[in-house]
């Protein structure tokens, strides 16, 4: 492809997305539908900016699904996955088997041979991971019961793709089908060795994730080249996808597993924030490609047939899912979310259909109709979500169900306190909080320190705390207090700016190394500023007073008063320091401020005197026998 072609095509794709997605969002349709519409518009049947290459783009963009599964794995610690095992096997397997059986029965009823019927049924029984998970995440429903079950089903379907692709060649009507089409390089090996290779690949991912990837990330992090970290994250995902392809497993499944392995690592949030935009772009591209692939000519030729087939497909899938939801005791509102959400056919449908075409299992007419039904049902899905939200849910419940789901999400593992900087200052704050039962999430950008502290059982994440996406990944949207223990005033200023812009609900508590940093932070509107040079210096001063015969209590009170006085003074001086004149240099400004301060100390009597236990005025007043 010529470079100009590439640029022209990119322009078309990006422009379509940039125009359609915000419009769709504004209309309350969600981003997925926006991408799909964009795809239809630029596709060969409407404006025709792009032609048949849409399918290649779809294959390329499917990689977005792979990254998405990796990111989902990152959110899911091994323990949590293990707890989901019954759901994945129970709900997932019954969905695939029951749906496939039902569709196959219908196909046979329509007069298709049983082999074709089975292939079509298997292709259509799978749902769209990309659309469903993206929509659930966008609507913040991933943690709800229906969302969790949807996820379990989708995960099982990803696993099911492997045996499906394995048995399809056996269905070939025309024995002349080319066996070398079986695409995996290890396809020719004996079955025993194949199994062994598959097991080996899984072991490689598990062990590699544990013992290779984390140390590698540590080295990369230490180099402090940001894009290198992104490159490494991509390398991990791509290489696992490749490995999976070699042994004939689903790439999405492999990266998902890798994600789960890395979910406990300190780089989790950094990986998330690095891959998130790439995933978003690729998924968007994927949805556009799906939209572009809808064959409007075919639909126009037999609209009734395709419409009724699509409707029948979704009705069958919905019914089966709804019954399963009932059996597994989903609340009715959650069950609608679950059953409606998964009632479309998915991107694996395209894969299986094209595989089926190569294997001569079905004739091309059936396949193109099947493809159209898949694309159409995917396009309808966002509308179903909207219908569920606007029409069905309000009738079923008064929204309490969703609230409950959100609450449990918060209790989960996001801490209410985030501490940036795990040096001596931050770790002291953290230890103190932990000693009092408050767990904090720590952010630090020194990989060695992060590594060391994780060994000591602290929840520390590697990353740049001034980046909004990293903060979001670390749970800044759910936390209530943000402590900055960073020692660099520049970083603190940037952090304060980011926090106030993106997370205005957070209470910010910030370390300042001296009064000049404090002035800057006050200027930026940070209210809670803690000067590291205040309390400790006064404490030392108090001990000096004791050496000079001051009572311990008197000295302590003097210290307390001085700290309070100084807290007030620093705020007042911060407000007035720019009044008098422009200072040529910061150093001169500092000297001038120091002078003002000393003057104030001398004139303010409250610093040193209190009258509580002075007996003289008392004696004078009471004494002289009035």
């Amino acid at each position: 492809m010529a470079a100009s072609d590439f640029l022209a095509q990119s322009t078309v794709f990006l422009a379509a997305a940039v125009i359609c997605v915000p419009l769709a969002k504004r209309l309350g349709l969600g981003s997925v539908l926006g991408y799909l519409i964009a795809g239809m518009l630029i596709g060969p049947f409407v404006i025709g900016f792009i032609g048949e290459e849409g399918e290649d783009i779809m294959h390329f963009a499917e990689f977005g699904v792979v990254i998405m599964l990796f990111l989902i794995g990152l959110e899911l610690e091994p323990g949590k996955l293990w707890r989901l095992r019954k759901q994945i096997l129970g709900v997932g397997m019954s969905q695939v088997l029951a749906t496939a059986a039902a569709i196959m029965a219908v196909c046979i009823g329509l007069g298709l041979p049983w082999q074709t019927s089975l292939a079509v049924a298997l292709a259509l029984s799978l749902s769209s991971t990309a659309i469903v998970l993206q929509t659930l995440a966008e609507k913040d429903l991933m943690q709800s019961e229906g969302g969790q079950n949807s996820f379990s089903v989708l995960l099982f379907q990803d696993i099911a793709v492997i045996p499906i692709l394995a048995i399809l060649p056996l269905l070939a009507i025309n024995a002349a089908a080319d066996p070398s089409q079986s695409s995996t390089p290890i396809g020719e090996l004996p079955v025993g060795l194949q199994t062994l290779a598959v097991l080996a690949a899984v072991v490689i991912i598990v062990l590699g994730g544990r013992f290779l990837v984390v140390p590698l990330l540590r080295v990369i992090a230490r180099s402090r080249v940001r894009e290198l970290f992104t490159a490494t994250a991509l390398l991990i995902v791509v290489s696992i996808a490749y490995l999976m392809q070699v042994v004939g497993l689903s790439a999405a499944l492999g990266t998902f597993l890798a994600g789960v392995i890395l979910a406990n690592s300190e780089y989790r949030h950094e990986l998330e924030s690095d891959l998130e935009p790439i995933k978003g772009l690729l998924l968007g591209l994927f949805f556009i490609a799906v939209g572009a692939s809808i064959d409007f000519r075919l639909i126009a030729a037999s609209p009734l047939l395709i419409a009724s087939l699509t409707f029948a497909l979704m009705a069958i899938k919905f019914t089966v899912l709804f019954i399963i939801g009932k059996v597994f005791k989903l609340a009715i509102g959650q069950n609608f979310l679950f059953a409606l959400g998964l009632s479309q056919a998915g991107e694996f449908g395209f894969v299986i259909f094209s595989f089926v075409a190569r294997q001569n299992i079905a004739d091309s007419g059936v396949i193109s109709i099947g493809m159209a039904v898949v694309a159409l049902s995917m396009t309808l899905t966002p509308f179903l979500f909207i219908a569920n939200e606007k029409l069905i849910q309000p009738r079923l419940c008064d929204g309490t169900e969703k609230e409950e789901a959100r609450e449990s999400d918060e209790v989960g593992e996001t801490n209410r306190v985030i501490i940036a900087g795990f040096g001596h200052f931050g770790s002291t704050v953290g230890r103190f909080l932990r000693a009092n039962g408050i767990e904090a999430t720590f952010l630090d950008n020194d990989p060695d320190r992060v590594n060391f502290l994780r060994k000591m059982g602290f929840k520390v994440y590697y990353g740049d705390a001034t980046r909004p996406d990293f903060l979001l990944a670390a749970g800044a949207d759910k936390a209530s207090v943000f402590v900055s223990a960073l020692d660099s005033p520049e970083l603190n200023a940037r952090l304060a700016d980011t926090l106030r812009r993106f997370f205005p609900h957070l209470e910010i508590m910030m370390r300042a190394s001296n009064r000049y940093d404090a002035y800057e932070l006050f200027d930026m509107g940070v209210e809670n500023v803690y000067r590291e040079s205040l309390d400790t210096s006064v404490k030392l001063g108090v001990d000096v007073l004791k050496r000079f015969g001051f009572g311990a209590y008197t000295a302590t009170r003097a210290g307390q008063r001085f700290v309070k006085y100084d807290e007030t003074a620093v705020r007042e001086l911060a407000a007035h320091r720019h009044d008098e004149k422009e200072y040529i240099s910061r150093a001169r400004e500092a000297i001038a401020l120091q002078e003002q301060l000393l003057e104030r100390d001398m004139s303010d009597k409250t610093v040193s005197v209190d009258h509580a236990w002075d007996s003289e005025p008392l004696v004078r007043g009471f004494g002289a026998g009035e």
Binding site: A552, T554, L618, F622, G625
Partner: protein, 217 residues
């Protein structure tokens, strides 16, 4: 070893509370006269706990090691300075000092040694303070009783606003002698129970308390 020398020897713990000793006229003098004996422990609460963070275990240990406890403090606003209340709140734990199983202080004697600005006449129904010192001491008395301790009348240096240096010295000497006699067992605790002030018990009934001045707090 001391116990062998004198079977009646008592170990005394002085819990001292004055927020600003350096400005004090009377209490500083009283401290000077406290005998520097092995069986007398002087414990300055404000000096040891300037941030009011009382070491409860240490305080309990001290209590267990002594027979007679003295709460020595100026009589501020008809009571003690706040750290002594903090000490009472923190140290006299339920199940240890009182309540179920709380009998660790049983049988110990305890009293207040106070300094008041007003003289004895101010502390009576006709005086401007309206109540007697004994009345004002009720919370301490009942605290001690609940802890199964033997509460004795206070040692009181009264009318301090008008005391001359000689009078202060005299009071301090009296205080020192009281502690000494309690310590060596000569002091008659039985006799003390009936008195209004411990000052009376050793015979020299608070001469100064009968002064004519009507000032002071």
């Amino acid at each position: 070893m001391d116990a062998i020398e004198n079977q009646n020897m008592r170990r005394i713990l002085i819990l001292f509370a004055h927020p600003r000793l350096e400005n004090s006229r009377i209490n500083r003098q009283l401290l000077v006269r406290i005998p520097a004996a092995e069986n007398v422990t002087f414990h300055d609460l404000y000096e040891n706990y300037p941030d009011f963070d009382i070491d409860v275990e240490h305080e309990k240990e001290l209590l267990l090691r002594h027979d007679v406890i003295i709460w020595q403090h100026p009589f501020y606003w008809y009571s003690s300075p706040p750290i002594l209340k903090q000490w009472i709140d923190m140290v006299l734990e339920y199940g240890w000092a009182y309540g179920t199983g709380g009998n660790r202080l049983k049988g110990k004697s305890i009293f207040n040694a106070i300094t008041t600005g007003g003289d004895a006449q101010a502390y009576c129904p006709e005086g401007y303070n309206c109540f007697t010192v004994t009345d004002f001491m009720r919370p301490f008395e009942q605290t001690a009783r609940l802890c199964l301790m033997d509460y004795l009348p206070p040692f009181a240096v009264m009318g301090t606003h008008r005391m001359s240096a000689d009078q202060i010295l005299e009071a301090a000497t009296e205080y020192g002698k009281l502690i000494e006699s309690i310590g060596n067992g000569e002091f008659d605790i039985e006799k003390a129970r009936g008195a209004t002030y411990l000052n009376e018990v050793n015979g020299e009934v608070g001469k100064r308390g009968k002064g004519k001045d009507d000032g002071g707090f």
